[in-house]
């Protein structure tokens, strides 16, 4: 293992140990100091904090990905939803130009149209440049490239509105082809939607795995401390008192794991964000996280601790009910 990685592991273990000593004090201060002594404190002796840390880190990365994808999709969708591209597909340059001018005139006065702009020739040349090149001697003017008109509609470019535009242009520009810009990216949106569902599914699986781990750990702890539990039962301890001790112990583990998991998750998300930003793609750049998203991510370990506490409590109470 690389030296820096070993150092990072040592640092993390040290941080966990510091948290381990600080958190029980804090929790004891919140009440039940005596109760916390009913069972031995065996924190950091098992894999629980590490399991929780891994689960929280993975959940943070999955949730951040889902949020970033949603932002990217929303931003792209907002850009494109009113966008319409009109192509004048005619091989004769003069006819193409005439129909383009006529279409532009009609479109500018059509209802619901905010703007209609002919895409300048130099931009058209730039669009085909990757395929045709700019070497001296090439004469792009001789190529029958369609004339493009970029139209912005107020509201969404629905099929019905596109039909109205087609009818309006049928007489003056019969060579016009009209497409909603969003239709070009529909497969991309579907893919993003699928990824978001996948992220949601992953988060649900992480929660399920966490609950299973806590369930096993609680049952294991109950088995280990069965004699002690029987004694404190005989001394008049209630099921809720005993469950609270387990719940508190598990919550401490979960809180330590949650903090480490959140840090690991955030570092991963920031690293990934930097890599994607370097791509320089407009759509990726729009997928950055808002501050509300960071607040939501910070809430994941809190939700994790609550989930762990609830699972531990219900597991222990169910097991205690089977005792005398």
């Amino acid at each position: 293992m690389a030296r820096w990685a070993m150092a990072a592991c040592h640092e993390t273990a040290y941080l966990m140990k510091r948290l381990a000593s600080a958190l029980p004090r804090t929790l004891r201060a919140l009440g039940g100091e005596g109760e916390s002594r009913l069972l031995p404190e065996a924190r950091l002796s098992g894999p629980m904090p590490w399991v929780i840390a891994i689960m929280i880190a993975l959940t943070v990365v999955a949730a951040a990905s889902a949020l970033a994808l949603r932002h990217a999709a929303q931003a792209a969708s907002a850009d494109l939803e009113g966008g319409v591209t009109v192509q004048i597909v005619s091989a004769a340059p003069a006819q193409r130009q005439r129909q383009a001018d006529a279409a532009l005139a009609v479109l500018r006065h059509a209802p619901g149209v905010i703007s209609a702009t002919a895409v300048p020739q130099d931009q058209l040349d730039a669009l085909v440049e990757p395929w045709l090149g700019t070497r001296a001697g090439d004469d792009l003017d001789d190529l029958p490239i369609p004339a493009l008109i970029d139209v912005r509609l107020a509201g969404t470019a629905t099929p019905a509105r596109l039909d109205l535009l087609r009818k309006a242009l049928a007489a003056t520009a019969p060579a016009a082809r009209i497409d909603a810009q969003s239709s070009w990216l529909a497969p991309v949106f579907r893919a993003i939607g699928a990824l978001q569902w996948a992220a949601g599914g992953l988060i649900a699986l992480f929660a399920f795995a966490t609950v299973s781990a806590v369930l096993l750990a609680s049952r294991n702890a109950l088995g280990t401390h069965r004699e002690t539990i029987e004694i404190v039962h005989m001394l008049g301890a209630t099921d809720v008192q005993i469950a609270r001790v387990f719940q508190r112990s598990m919550a401490t583990d979960a809180a330590m794991g949650g903090v480490v998991g959140l840090l690991a998750g955030v570092v991963t998300v920031l690293g990934l964000a930097r890599q994607f930003a370097a791509l320089g793609s407009g759509m990726v750049a729009q997928g950055s996280l808002a501050w509300t998203d960071w607040v939501a991510l910070a809430g994941i370990p809190i939700a994790g601790v609550l989930l762990v506490m609830l699972t531990a409590r219900l597991t222990v109470l169910a097991a205690l009910r089977r005792m005398v």
Binding site: R37, L38, T228, V232, M234, L235, G236, A237
Partner: protein, 254 residues
Amino acid sequence: MNQAAAEIVQFDNVGLRYGAGREVLADVSFTLYPGCFYFLTGASGAGKTSLLKLLYLAQRPSRGLIRMFGTDAITLPRERLPGFRRRIGVVFQDFRLVPHLSAWDNVALPLRVAGQSEKDIAKPVSDMLEWVGLGDRFQARPATLSGGEQQRVAIARAVIARPDILVADEPTGNVDPEMAIKLLRLFESLNRLGTTVVVATHDLHLIRKVPDSLIMRLDKGKLADPTGALRYPPRRPVDTGGNGDGPMGDGGLP
């Protein structure tokens, strides 16, 4: 006197069997009254520990009726059991100290379970441990204590919360005679404060030290009533052949 209200424990035709085995207790009927001191005797295997388990609500009978503190203990809802158990102090035969807790914390357990604050716990627990002669072993874990020391911790834990009824299973089995007498005096002091005491023992010498005690004797799961202890009022004090004398030192509670 309203006898029904005065009784603290009433067993009526109680039987107990473990699983499909034979009955270890059969047709056990008796009544315990507040402030009385009972000895439960009988040979090994006579069912003393089983009877005590029923008394401290660790076991439910196979048949019969048990009333404790004026309530049917058999149909008692689970959530009311802790309240009842807090009124019963138990000295287990095998001590059953919590191994990871110090002697001090073991004695403090019943008070902590009852929700008392650490401030209120500190003095009584320390005084009690001093009194049973373990003033220098506060922080010792049970594994580092001798059998006799563990037994004294167990007794201190059983009496610290001043229970209504104290149930002790061979409480002096591992201590020297002097300490046995001292512990007996502790039980008597509690008894004088109104606690009903039930001590299971083989030790006739011990029984003789408490002249006002009443004897219940178990024989193969059946209860005999040699002193009339099971009737109310008892016909006569226990006749053990002794006169209850002895030095026995300070019997007062700490």
